[in-house]
């Protein structure tokens, strides 16, 4: 299989190119965008990110750690009475559990982002490296995959959709 990378000046042009490529049966690998653009991301067909679910798992793990860590530490205490409170003061541990829940959720979201972003980049390389500077400026880039004998046809299609540059990898 060969890949074609095309750079477009406007989002309308890249949306048109995605439609045209789909109509011709070419596979869309990804698009490179200068900023978050829900319309283009949906048109590429990117599945929902896992950040929310991983954050939930991180939050549960964090809150469990926040409850168990103080309980484990306090269980080793000698018999000391502090302000008349029992040593295992679960309600007061809830504050620590709450804070660690938020920490766990945040770390989970960032871990999911790093994993998701790495997978996205890996799928697009190495051709994406040639056009990424255009996308980090103000242009859009589209990466499509096709059998070797259709590479020329794909490049011509991108040109006809208004691509300012087109590379076959």
């Amino acid at each position: 299989m060969r890949r074609v990378a095309a750079v477009f000046q406007t989002r309308e042009a890249v949306l048109g190119a995605i439609d045209a490529a789909r109509t011709r049966g070419l596979m869309i690998v990804t698009a490179l965008l200068p900023a978050y653009d829900a319309a283009v991301i949906d048109a590429v067909g990117v599945p929902p990110a896992w950040c929310g679910r991983v954050a939930l798992i991180g939050g549960i793990a964090g809150s469990a750690a926040g409850l168990l860590f103080p309980a484990w530490a306090v269980a080793q205490w000698p018999r000391v009475i502090v302000g008349g409170k029992p040593l295992l003061s679960w309600p007061t541990f809830l504050v620590i559990a709450f804070e660690l829940m938020l920490l766990g959720a945040a770390l989970g979201a960032v871990a999911a982002f790093l994993a998701g972003a790495w997978r996205g980049r890996r799928a697009a390389r190495p051709l994406s490296d040639l056009v990424r500077s255009s996308a980090s400026d103000a242009s859009f880039a589209l990466l499509i995959e096709c059998p070797p004998d259709r590479a020329r046809e794909a490049a011509e299609l991108m040109d006809s959709q208004g691509a300012v540059t087109c590379r076959v990898g």
């Binding site: 950040c51 502090v82 938020l102 945040a106 799928a123 980090s136």
Partner: protein, 425 residues
């Protein structure tokens, strides 16, 4: 591509150098305090918490509002946030770095600062997890980590832009490392936006919880003037209030220094001024509630504490707090005042000073006038505390300027998103 510049490079580095010099002097004063002990500060019985803890609470408050404003404005889809979010988040990082110094400065033996961290029992400390001071360590530590993650995540696409478009050299290489290989693929953007939304939600909850925990350091003690259920919302509103004022203080001169007048317009200042006015009214309501209940519940100690604040040795500071926090912001009811940078600068300065003085009065006046009249006392900070407080302001501004001068002061990717949205409309 949006570009930013430092029009006065000499002015910028001159300011950074001057601020570095000022906080270095303050650091020397701190070394003097370490050598001779806390006796050189004004701290003595009954006021054992004074300027240092008041300044710690002040900086924590400043730290909270920056990220919260950015997060809340993101969650409410306030698109104008793109211009102030980076400054506000960077302010948070610098403020929390400054705040974290104060529990250490407050220690007689700062080399034992690691004892503040609630680790298990190997050293025989037998940590009391029912103490709000331990909750503080968990809450502020979490806030520091999450704020850095939120700030850094927001910067990744901008680092990638600089990696691809800055002049070749070491700076560009560093931006390349910091961009973590960002290519701007649709999958990366989807993950980015999802993680950013989760972090914004977490931050919004975290800010309220962390400043509530800070307020419980006081409210859970039985000291008259502290033991009040209103402290948590009162502290959270106060933090937002002082933070908006500090954002104004940084933004108005920062517009000139960083050359971002085109991005930070009079409309943005007007919106921030409305926020400041709203928080002023909330804080004033909290003051009124506190006074009302002190009189209403007929607790003689609470009653006496309030009269002491009104008429005692801290009265000038108390009335200064009311004038700065409740009086001065009322001019912002005028639309013309809200769009005048000089008026805004004056009001913001008054609020910033007023909020520091408010924390000082809460801490020092309450401790000076507890239950037993035989144990009443006064508190007069020395030049050591004064120097360290001024040094902390220099330390904050030094790190703020140093960081903001080397990253895009306005979020590039978000500005592009805004342009795409406008083109769409």
């Amino acid at each position: 591509m949006q570009r930013w510049s430092l029009p006065g490079v000499a002015v910028y580095w001159g300011m950074v150098g001057l601020l570095g010099g000022v906080w270095s002097l303050a650091a020397a004063v701190w070394l003097y305090q370490i050598y001779y002990g806390l006796q050189v500060a004004g701290l003595t019985h009954p006021v054992m918490w004074g300027t240092y803890i008041a300044t710690f609470v002040f900086w924590i408050g400043i730290a909270h509002s920056g990220t919260l404003m950015s997060a809340i404005l993101f969650l409410f889809r306030a698109h104008w946030r793109a211009t102030i979010a980076r400054l506000a988040e960077t302010m948070t990082i610098a403020a929390i770095m400054t705040a974290l110094l104060f529990p250490i400065i407050h220690l007689g033996r700062p080399w034992r600062a690691y004892w503040l961290i609630p680790y298990p029992n190997e050293r025989g400390l037998w940590i009391n997890f029912s103490s709000p001071l331990i909750w503080d360590a968990a809450a502020i530590g979490t806030y520091f980590v999450v704020s850095i993650l939120f700030w850094f995540l927001h910067l990744i696409p901008d680092f990638a832009t600089l990696r691809d478009h800055d002049r070749p050299g070491m700076r560009r290489r560093i931006f390349g490392w910091l961009a973590l290989g960002w290519s701007g693929t649709a999958q990366e953007w989807r993950s980015f936006r999802s993680a950013y939304a989760v972090l914004a939600g977490v931050i919004a909850v975290l800010v309220v919880s962390v400043h509530s925990v800070v307020s419980w350091d006081f409210a859970m003690a039985i000291v008259p003037g502290w033991h009040s259920t209103i402290f948590a919302p009162y502290f959270v509103a106060g933090a937002m209030f002082s933070g908006v004022a500090m954002i104004m203080l940084l933004l108005i001169p920062g517009r000139e220094l960083l050359g971002i007048q085109r991005h930070v317009t009079a409309d943005h200042l007007d919106k921030l001024a409305k926020l400041m006015l709203t928080f002023s009214l909330i804080v004033t309501y909290a003051y009124a509630t506190e006074f009302f209940f002190s009189f209403h519940d007929r607790d003689p100690f609470e009653h006496r504490q309030l009269l002491f604040r009104f008429t005692g040795s801290f009265a000038p500071l108390f009335w200064m707090t009311i004038a700065c926090n409740s009086g001065a912001p009322l001019v912002l009811f005028s639309g013309r005042a809200r769009r005048n940078p000089h008026v805004l600068l004056g009001v913001s300065l008054a609020v910033t000073i007023g909020m520091w003085v408010e924390r000082f009065v809460i801490i020092a006046a309450s401790l000076a006038h507890e239950y037993d009249s035989a144990a009443w006392g006064g508190y007069r900070p020395t030049y050591v505390e004064g120097s360290i407080v001024i040094g902390s302001l220099a330390f904050f501004l030094f790190w703020f300027l140093l960081i903001i001068g080397h990253i895009p002061a306005v979020a590039i990717a978000e500005q592009k998103e805004e342009q795409l949205r406008e083109a769409d409309a």
